[in-house]
């Protein structure tokens, strides 16, 4: 034991001694695990797209800041009518796209008509469904009319899915993104890296960095080596199991923050035996959340008792709704007619937190008699089986969309959860703009899904960034997907 440890320490110490930052003062190389399939954030859901382009290459009318608050983006100001149905945006003057074409209200209209079109391929099309029309008042003023009030409207405008694109370049954004942001796209060496450079004609405050390179490194051991060797300057989300390599190393800073990812034990409520509330309650009692958090996230995850981000002001701590209690679980199973437990399958997507959580949960469920067969799938297969065909019993997945509790109101969503009261509450929530009232409704919803044990609520994913100690301005939290470069700079 001691011998092993000291070998590891000596080796690490050796590495520390030799690692020194040699990077130039205005350039950054960021290591990210996943390469985006394309670079158009309005035509794909992959987080990897936003990591590269969100707020760097592309901007929306509004933008979400590192606290999750909505800030002015391409719109410098806006007014909302009293009924909450008309939004009038005043646009920034003198903004140009990277190809030199100018930005005006027509681009805004084009962007949203493209999102809402019949043949739209926008992954979040449904979020923008309340938009009834987009009217150009003058080149710098645009008016949105909604069919119903939408409390999340301004936030949704700030998402990567609603960034403003130009009719001249929208078609090619997948390979050659043209936006209005502080960085313009230079090149993409597939399988290797994307290079961005500072946009000299940027309308806003110029960022400190002049060049940013994203290197795609999927293997954790390789990324560790690349960081230690100084081949990359940082990464926004590093595998928690190897964070210990960098903690306490003065060359690096480890930033642990929150994300919007609620990790749940997704349960097929429409299927026997999970349609029985007592079975779901038994499973909730059988989950030892702390062990899962320790084993799957090395203690970095934050326990949740419902489908809501703990850092959100509306969050309600419901982790004690069904405390860990194997005996209670067995009793509930017996009551539901399964005194000897039952067998179930669990389909796991190819992400470390899911595979590890799945193994731990299977071991915990075995204690109360539930025999779980683990089926590891890749993404495409998981999406088809679980999401499209609902052919699954259990799964582990993190829902990374901000404020996405509305999915519980959709009886066709993969949980198969159909609760008319909750659907009515959700509709009310969507149509409410008053903050106090919204909080009350959101908390009612949180309580219902927690008590109904719709899914097993495990933990909120943490964001664990590792950066060169001389870098500043990185987002510690991740209220929205992306690695925003605008405030990052080197300091001595």
């Amino acid at each position: 034991m001691i011998k092993t440890k000291s070998l590891g320490l000596t080796l690490t110490a050796l590495l520390l001694a030799t690692s020194a930052a040699l990077a130039q003062s205005t350039e950054i190389r960021i290591g990210v695990a996943l390469e985006p399939p394309a670079l158009d954030p309005t035509a794909g859901a992959a987080e990897a797209i936003d990591v590269v382009v969100y707020q760097n290459v592309f901007e929306g009318l509004t933008r979400v800041d590192q606290n999750g608050a909505v800030q002015p983006g391409l719109a410098e100001s806006w007014t909302v009518s009293d009924d909450g149905l008309t939004y009038t945006f005043k646009l920034h003057d003198g903004v140009t796209f990277h190809d030199g074409t100018s930005f005006d209200a027509e681009d805004v209209k084009f962007t949203f008509e493209r999102i809402l079109a019949e043949d739209s391929v926008n992954a979040q099309k449904a979020l923008y469904a309340p938009i009834a029309s987009v009217n150009v008042i003058d080149p710098l003023t645009v008016e949105f009319t909604l069919s119903r009030p939408d409390g999340m409207f301004l936030f949704n405008l700030g998402r990567g899915d609603a960034v403003i694109v130009a009719p001249e370049s929208a078609e090619n954004n997948a390979n050659e993104p043209i936006g209005t942001g502080p960085f313009h796209f230079v090149q993409w060496d597939r399988g290797s890296r994307v290079v961005l450079e500072q946009n000299g004609a940027y309308w806003g405050e110029k960022p400190a960095l002049t060049k940013a390179t994203y290197r795609f490194i999927g293997d954790t051991a390789t990324l560790t080596n690349a960081l230690l060797a100084g081949d990359v300057d940082g990464t926004n989300n590093f595998a928690p199991e190897a964070l210990a390599v960098f903690e306490g190393n003065p060359q690096f800073k480890v930033l642990v923050g929150s994300t919007e990812g609620e990790t749940i034990l997704g349960t097929n409520n429409a299927k026997e035996p999970f349609s029985d509330l007592r079975v779901r309650q038994a499973m909730a009692h059988a989950l030892n959340r702390q062990e899962i958090i320790d084993g799957a996230t090395y203690g970095y995850g934050v326990a949740i008792g419902t489908h809501f981000a703990p850092q959100h002001p509306y969050y309600l701590d419901l982790t004690e709704t069904y405390p860990y209690d194997p005996e209670a679980a067995k009793a509930l199973l017996a009551e539901a007619g399964y005194p000897d437990g039952f067998s179930a399958t669990m389909k796991l997507p190819p992400v470390a937190y899911a595979r590890l959580s799945g193994q731990i949960i299977a071991s915990q469920f075995a204690e109360v008699g539930i025999k779980v067969e683990l089926i590891n799938t890749e993404w495409a297969q998981w999406l088809e089986d679980v999401l499209t065909n609902k052919d699954f019993d259990l799964t582990v997945i993190s829902h990374v969309e901000p404020f996405d509790v509305g999915i519980y109101a959709d009886p066709n969503y993969y949980f198969g959860y159909n609760n008319a009261d909750l659907q009515a509450l959700n509709e009310q929530l969507n149509a409410t703009t008053d903050d106090g009232k919204r909080k009350e409704l959101a908390q009612q919803i949180q309580t219902i899904i927690s008590e109904d044990a719709v899914n097993g609520y495990l933990f909120e994913l943490a964001q664990t960034g590792v950066w060169n100690a001389k870098l500043e301005g990185m987002w510690q939290n991740s209220p929205i997907e992306g690695v925003v470069l605008r405030d990052i700079r080197w300091v001595d």
Partner: protein
């Protein structure tokens, strides 16, 4: 093979004994391991070797010695089953090609060429994508790759023998191609096939490790030496022990098999020394 033969080839003895020991270690895991390998106790993870956990515990608090036992079994099983597939399909194909010649031979060579030219990793990825990752699919993927290897060895060996007098005599005596293949060709190429079998077995164990590395091999809660090595890779700087144990086990098993293979080749037929070395280093 008899005792004198083994005594004359000490490396054969070492290789066989080491292989047998590892195989035994794996087989025992079918009935007994110190701890059940599915049992996860996060609180006791990353322990070093000690009296309770002889080789320590892994990232989920599982007993490393139990994992090594079970992983060795999986690694052997995948490699061996793939060899069986390769022999079962490849040898008849190779014999048929040698015995019939002509169109049959042409067809066998085509099949063999296609499977050989088809990148093995791509086959593995495709099969795994079709049926989901598991040890069984690794067996099929590696097994398919073994088919042309054995087909070539069998055909080459059989062609060398087919011209000999007793085969011609048998043909004159009215024996058909099938009978000649089974009675005369097959027994004479057995030693070649066994030698190639040990080589492919060791390559199969390495291939399984490679497939596990890219996530296509054995899946938890089952384990293999390759999967253990891969899981430990990302924490190598913090817990090097977790990599060293399965890594060393793989290296030792493969060396044992190769020594046994070399020894067998020397012992069975010195003339074979130059044949069949490393058909495809997959």
């Amino acid at each position: 093979m008899n005792w004198r033969l083994i005594r004359n080839h000490p490396s054969l003895l070492i290789g066989l004994v080491a292989t047998a020991l590892f195989a035994l270690l794996g087989l025992v895991s079918l009935w007994w391991t110190p701890f059940p390998i599915e049992q996860i106790v996060v609180a006791r993870r990353f322990q070093g070797p000690g009296p309770v956990h002889w080789l320590g515990t892994d990232n989920l608090g599982r007993d490393m010695f139990s994992l090594v036992m079970s992983g060795t079994l999986t690694s052997f099983w995948v490699g061996a089953a793939a060899v069986v597939i390769g022999i079962g399909v490849g040898v008849p194909l190779g014999l048929a090609a040698a015995a019939w010649g002509g169109a049959v031979e042409w067809l066998v060579i085509r099949i063999s060429d296609v499977t050989f030219a088809f990148p093995s990793v791509v086959i593995a990825i495709l099969i795994t994508t079709l049926m989901g990752p598991s040890a069984a699919n690794a067996i099929i993927a590696i097994g398919i790759f073994n088919i042309p290897v054995f087909a070539r060895v069998a055909r080459g060996g059989a062609l060398a023998i087919a011209t000999q007098d007793y085969v011609s005599a048998a043909r004159l005596a009215g024996l058909g191609n099938v009978a000649i293949s089974v009675r005369h060709l097959l027994p004479n190429i057995m030693s070649l096939i066994i030698v190639q079998g040990t080589i492919q077995l060791s390559l199969g164990i390495l291939a399984e490790a490679g497939l596990s590395y890219i996530g296509l091999g054995t899946q938890p809660p089952a384990t293999s030496l390759g999967l253990m090595l891969r899981d430990a890779q990302s924490v190598f700087l913090i817990h090097p022990w977790l990599s060293i144990v399965p890594g060393l086990a793989i290296v030792l098993i493969v060396i044992a098999l190769n020594i046994a293979g070399d020894g067998l080749r020397d012992a069975m037929d010195p003339r074979l020394k130059r044949e069949g070395i490393n058909h495809g280093a997959g």
